[in-house]
Amino acid sequence: MPDLPNPIYFAIPAFVLLIVAEMIHARLTGKTQYEPRDTAASLIMGLGNTVSGILLGGIALAWFAYIEQFALLDIGWAWWAFALAFVLDDFVYYWSHRFAHTVRWWWADHVIHHSSQHYNLSTALRQPWLSPLSLKFIIFGSWLVLAGFPPAMVAFVGALNLIYQFWIHTEAVPKMWAPIEAVMNTPSHHRVHHATNPRYLDRNFAGVFIIWDRMFGSFEPEREDEPCRYGIVRNLATFNPIKICLHEWAGIFKDVASAKSPREAFGYWFGPPGWSPDGSRDSSKILKRRWMETRQAEAGEAEAPQRAAAAE
């Protein structure tokens, strides 16, 4: 077994240099903004994520080491196995990310990454602290290990995937060459993913390859006539890292405590974000439907005089 390093440790200096470069670019061009308290919150969340990974990541490692004995195949360490693992890991990432947006239990973990109203390279590092406790990596990461890929290889390609996703958190890069936009996840595609405009909600879940969104019906291109508004539907009014980390978990516990039945409690815990027993809250689906109805009504009003004129 090769002694694989953790590539994220080597990437950290590059992350720092690129953030500084983008910050200077932002100052010179005004194309993006950095606000110190937002930047500090994002970077502290990133640092905390690294520390929590060291402290809690052992849970996932122990699990992968345990299930390795049940693997169907022994794929080994060939170069093509790395390439295949990278692509399959990205496929698994797509689905885990999609579930992170549609199951509140996982959204409570992932919402941290979306909680800035800014979109710059520091946003990429705004990551949760309690991910290992959400069991997301265990549930979605187990498939490749059970298929026969060595756990260290799965961890390695997973880290490469995350490193790739760093550079796409920028407004400094416009739409790229069409063939690249067709296949790869790009800054343009990921801006859509971080936007709260109803048209863009819950779209573009890809990690590295945007093809998964195209295949599974979740792709939405960025439009020039609809600039992205970043953040979450109910934006946070705090830069406190502890509150950023815990706010959705606090919401879940509060809701579950108020549930009138086990079914309600289950819905609050595992239903989509915004789920409520009486439908009084706004989930992404409800928001998109309401937005669509508003658009259709506006289109109808705009067409009415034309129809009347045509009838005359």
């Binding site: 950290i12 100052r27 308290r37 502290i44 640092l47 959204w107 109803p198 809250r281």
Partner: protein, 156 residues
């Protein structure tokens, strides 16, 4: 032992880098603390941020342009827009989502049942205007059946 030392060095360097990047951000500038120029600007932000919220003509902005309050048409919700850094945060409050309302001359303070948006205060032009808006806000302290829950939604 070497691995632990490397880890400590990486984390220490990262922590120092975080501090230096934030200092650089302060030094470079390029951001402006958000302020509403007039109440309508805050209303527009609320309507933009809360799909379906249609403000009535009843809106008010605190001195300094940091907070705007607006009643929804029909009075079902109280819209709040408050600046936060160089951005603004908005809420459409339903009955039961305001914990308490306090009035001190022309200064109105709303305590909200919101984990990250606990308090909003604004100083209005005069005590009479503040008193009127305190009454508006008190209507949202009481819980109305089936409307007391805050809205949440997937992001992003």
């Amino acid at each position: 032992m070497n691995e632990i030392l490397t880890l400590i060095l990486v984390l220490g360097a990262s922590a120092i880098s975080v501090g230096l990047i934030v200092v650089l951000n302060v030094f470079l500038g390029g951001w402006t603390p958000a302020r509403f120029a007039y109440a309508g600007e805050g209303v527009r932000r609320i309507e933009e941020g809360v799909l379906g919220f249609s403000a009535s003509h009843d809106a008010v902005m605190g001195r300094g342009g940091r907070v705007v309050l607006a009643l929804e048409q029909g009075g079902a919700r109280l819209g709040v827009a408050a600046t936060s850094g160089d951005r603004a945060t908005v809420r459409a409050l339903r009955p039961g989502e305001v914990r308490a309302v306090r009035l001190d001359g022309a200064t109105l303070t709303l305590d909200l049942k919101d984990y990250t948006f606990g308090r909003v205060w604004l100083t209005l032009d005069d005590a009479d205007t503040a008193s009127v808006w305190a009454e508006h806000a008190r209507a949202f302290v009481k819980t109305a059946p089936e409307t007391a829950r805050p809205e949440t939604a997937s992001h992003a």
